[in-house]
């Protein structure tokens, strides 16, 4: 049997404007409960919304970066439903005419690049937050109420968890590049709902679409899709179908669980908000935003390949995050060895910051310290392996490489005589390896070099060791 998985996404992104969408309360995350509210975002009787122009600008930025058409006239609508964290009992959103429509993101797949179409992007307000206590009491925090959001809706163009992952990575990177959101899933500034079903291509039957919620990371999204994919296929194989429902991803139990049925669709009674006027965006404004757009990830990859002579793979990793790319370029402005710098960032730097659980711009050292480390490698003051040790210490202590080298007396041994002495010692106690080497076992050479390096505490210049050991064995 051949199955095809069909996936579409709805992504909510909190915009990092200074103030909320309809009032002048701060829009930042966190803070003491109910301290960032006013009559407007609390929906007090008589209060009225006035739209924040910056929100429209940020959404246009997103629309342009995601290749959308911008509607010059869009409208704010009310989505009506009762819930205590929604203080007006309606959410001001866009329904009939969204601000942006018909865009796409390109992703890389095994079969080359693929366009994932974006149906629409609209602006709306976030709700407050309910905090449910164990004793049945619910508390409400309205700090988030009125924080601006964009909702990005894709077409059902993705067919695997891998594609979804790569879509999300690309999207996040673009949104970070255009600087409109923190994109922190764990803080809820990027939230992703997934619509999924599976088609049996032979029998031409398909499961009902299921919506997945509560995905707190890209990893959770991938696992939830994999789980659902299997569940849908299992049901199809037993001639059964999924229920039209919303399911919740349980990260601890590693499975999706029914949240609510979608058989009786809720009627939100959308209608144009009479308190607000049309959102009118003229060509001039759109052109201005377009002109001010920064270089986007794809453009950066091409430039890195061209200018720094990097491979597609390396360029993509470096350009995947705006801050990594910046760190790379800043370093390259200091030292002229983009290959060394890119290799170092892709391997050592990314590994260490992952271990430390920090972002590249939150490292204790800056690109200047990193550049001087690179210079020490380039002028052979230290070896690559010494540099790794030094870098680890730099990351932890924030010290400059010069300081660490001096403190620990770390300097590469480049003196032939010293190295030869150690080589002789090593050869004496490893006659078996010498024999192996002479019998054509090339591996033995590596072992011997390793022994020499070990003896010098990694401080010998490996190239010199290599050369001298070969001479000694010939």
């Amino acid at each position: 049997m051949s199955y095809k998985t069909i996936i579409g996404l709805e992504i909510h992104v909190e915009l990092k404007t200074n103030t909320k969408i309809f009032c002048s309360c701060p829009a930042e995350f966190g803070g003491e409960e109910n301290t960032k509210c006013c009559p407007v975002c609390l929906g007090l009787p008589g209060s009225l919304p006035v739209i924040n122009k910056k929100v429209i600008e940020f959404a246009i930025r997103a629309g342009l970066a995601l290749n959308c058409n911008i509607n010059e006239r869009s409208r704010m609508d009310r989505k009506n439903y009762f819930y205590p964290d929604l203080p007006k009992a309606y959410q001001i959103s866009q329904y009939e005419i969204p601000l942006c429509k018909e865009g796409y993101i390109e992703i890389e797949t095994e079969n080359g690049s693929k366009k994932i179409r974006i149906r629409r992007i609209h602006i709306e307000e976030d709700t407050g937050k309910s905090i449910h206590l164990e004793d049945g009491i619910s508390l409400l925090d309205y700090n988030r109420s009125g924080v601006p959001l964009i909702e990005i809706v894709t077409e059902p163009d993705m067919n695997s968890s891998k594609e979804v992952h790569s879509f999300l990575e690309n999207l996040k990177s673009i949104l970070e590049y255009i600087d409109i959101s923190d994109c922190k899933m764990e803080q809820g500034s990027l939230r992703c709902d997934i619509n999924i079903n599976v088609k049996n291509k032979d029998k031409n039957i398909e499961t009902n679409i299921v919506e997945l919620k509560n995905l707190n990371s890209f990893k959770a999204a991938v696992r939830a899709i994999d789980y659902e994919e299997k569940r849908h296929i299992d049901l199809l194989e037993h001639n059964r179908n999924t229920d039209k429902e919303t399911r919740r991803w349980n990260d601890i139990e590693n499975k999706t669980m029914k949240m609510r049925s979608k058989e009786n669709i809720e009627d939100y009674r959308y209608f144009p908000d009479p308190d607000l006027v049309y959102v009118v965006v003229d060509r001039k404004w759109i052109d201005k935003v377009r002109k001010e757009l920064p270089e986007l990830p794809r453009e950066k990859v091409e430039r890195f390949k061209r200018y720094y002579n990097l491979s597609e793979y390396n360029a993509r990793i470096l350009a995947s995050s705006k801050n990594i790319a910046k760190f790379f370029e800043d370093t390259c402005n200091e030292v002229e060895n983009s290959k060394l710098v890119s290799n170092w960032i892709i391997t050592e730097v990314l590994r260490r910051i992952k271990e430390e659980g920090i972002e590249i711009d939150k490292m204790k050292i800056n690109h200047k310290d990193f550049a001087s480390l690179m210079r020490f490698i380039m002028n052979k003051t230290i070896s690559n392996s010494m540099a790794k040790k030094i870098f680890r210490e730099m990351i932890i202590t924030g010290k400059a490489p010069q300081e660490i080298i001096e403190e620990r007396g770390l300097k590469q041994i480049t003196d032939n005589e010293t190295i030869n002495g150690i080589i002789q010692e090593v050869l004496k106690s490893n006659s078996k390896s010498i024999e192996d080497y002479r019998n054509g076992k090339k591996k033995a050479l590596g072992f011997l070099i390793g022994q020499v390096m070990k003896e010098t505490g990694g401080e010998a210049d490996p190239q010199i060791v290599n050369k001298l050991i070969k001479e000694a064995l010939s």
Partner: protein, 485 residues
């Protein structure tokens, strides 16, 4: 004449000439309230705390020769759906019986800056839904001209307070006639400004696209003075209009020479009291004697006004009033088992019958499958009605109609059949649908009960209707008559 019988501009003149102190004026009003309020019940809240010291302050300013505004030191009343910081704002509803707003409506802020003295918050039909003030959750208000009759509504308390001498002017809100109809029934001048002319910020919404704050005064000059304070752009209301700043006092001139008056036939149909029709035509004749010309004409879509109004107003109200859930403020039912219980019980117990009727009707017309047939169609008809007026104003400077099809009616006369009550707004709702300005002035009496004449103007042309109304007043004496209690 007693002080409380005078107009705001007369009091202003006396204050300026130091013929009376602000304290005397304020005390006079408070005494009047103490005397007549038991019969009239204009107010839900009387703001007597600190009012006299405020009056003393103003006297001091006058003594110091400070340059004060026209309405400084003038006692005023506000409809109880206009938010006042620290002062109860109930909307005439059990739902908000304990609601104290933490902020002032923009118009309140402006009146405070003018140094007008807030005397109290007035009774009203619950959430401004009604035409007699009988829908107040608290009490009925009586018409000062005849205590067995209603003052009209929904701004009945505001109208009664001014007509009974309990305030010199009042603000009301007008969604389908709620200022003009009580003005007509209480013999006052009631202006509903162009939509967007007065900020709605702080006016508790009933139907956002129709609501407009306006004035209830004893004569046209007072109307101009109040408008001078409250009209104008407000950044807090997206629907408020910028760039129109006017001195309405400029409109207080006698001049209707060559003015073209349209008399829409549809507003004189058989249900309109014959004596009202007569009085309105006589009013038109007064203007024609001063040089105006009139012509009967037609607004063909008039018959759809009421239906269109009720669909749009109830749809918007169903959403606007959804926030009253008993969670953050307002009435909360006791003994609720769960969230749904809180919502359903609080709303069932907190709202009155008429409010619930409109919420249900509005919810229905916005529902999936009915939206196109009701709400969307109503919006289309709204455009046709607007076009009707736009075409009329190509030819006429103002339109004149009766304000109300009848004079003040008896209590419970129209409460049994909601449709009967709705028809009370038959001459006024069209103007809200089109967003136009209109004023009601007194043009006669039937059995001692006032009759209202409505002058409708072009968008943002309050000046013309004020000028026409002023000219009428200068040549008649109806506005000088006071109710005797």
């Amino acid at each position: 004449m007693k002080l409380y019988d005078l107009t705001a501009h007369e009091i202003r003149d006396m204050l300026r000439k130091k013929e009376v102190s602000c304290r005397e004026v304020t005390e006079n009003i408070l005494d009047r309230i103490a005397k007549v309020e038991p019969y009239i019940s204009s107010y839900i809240t009387i703001n007597d705390e600190g009012t006299l010291s405020m009056a003393d302050n103003i006297d001091k300013l006058i003594k110091n020769g400070e340059d004060l505004g026209d309405l400084a030191g003038i006692p005023m009343a506000l409809k109880d759906n206009i938010c006042t910081d620290g002062i109860l704002t109930t909307c005439g509803s059990k739902m908000l019986q304990n609601f104290v707003p933490p902020y002032n409506a923009t118009c309140v802020e402006r009146l405070y800056n003018e140094k007008s003295i807030l005397i109290g918050k007035t009774n009203m039909d619950e959430f401004a839904m009604g035409s007699s003030t009988e829908n107040s959750a608290f009490k009925p208000t009586r018409n000062p001209w005849d205590l067995s009759r209603v003052p009209g509504g929904s701004s009945g308390g505001s109208a009664a307070s001014v007509a009974a001498g309990e305030a010199f002017f009042a603000l009301g809100s007008d969604t389908g006639g709620s200022i003009r109809q009580p003005a007509a029934l209480c013999g006052l001048v009631g202006l509903k400004p162009t939509y967007g002319m007065v900020s709605r910020y702080g006016l508790v919404s009933y139907a956002s696209s129709l609501d407009q704050i306006g004035t209830l005064t004893k004569d046209v000059e007072d109307c101009a003075l109040v408008m001078n304070v409250i009209a104008g752009y407000d950044f807090r209301d997206s629907t408020s209009v910028s760039g129109v700043a006017l001195d309405y006092k400029e409109a207080l001139i006698q001049d209707v020479k060559g003015l073209k008056i349209g008399i829409p036939r549809e507003y004189f149909y058989e249900d309109i009291d014959i004596d009202i029709k007569k009085a309105v035509y006589e009013g038109v004749k007064v203007l024609c004697d001063m040089g105006a010309e009139y012509e009967e004409m037609s607004l063909p879509y008039t018959e759809y006004n009421l239906a269109t109004y009720f669909i749009i107003a109830s749809s918007e109200c169903s959403s606007n009033l959804a926030r009253y859930d008993g969670i953050r403020y307002g009435y909360r039912a006791s003994e609720c088992k769960n969230l749904n219980d809180v919502l359903i019980k609080s709303r069932s117990e907190g709202f009155g019958e008429e409010v619930k009727r409109r919420i249900m009707a509005g919810t229905y017309s916005l529902s999936f499958g009915y939206y196109d047939e009701y709400y969307k169609r109503a919006l289309k008809v709204r455009t046709l009605i607007k076009n009707d007026f736009a075409k009329a104003f190509e030819k006429y400077d103002v339109l004149i109609t009766p304000t109300s099809p009848h004079v003040a009616f008896k209590f419970n006369e129209k409460t049994r059949d909601p449709l009967m009550m709705y028809k009370s707004d038959i001459c006024t709702v069209g103007i809200n649908i089109a967003g136009l300005p209109a004023i009601s002035i007194c043009c006669g009496f039937k059995n001692h009960l006032p009759i209202g004449l409505q002058i409708i103007g072009r968008h943002f042309d309050e000046k013309t209707i004020l000028r026409v109304a002023y000219t009428f007043e200068q040549n008649t004496k109806y506005h000088k008559k006071r109710a005797v209690i």
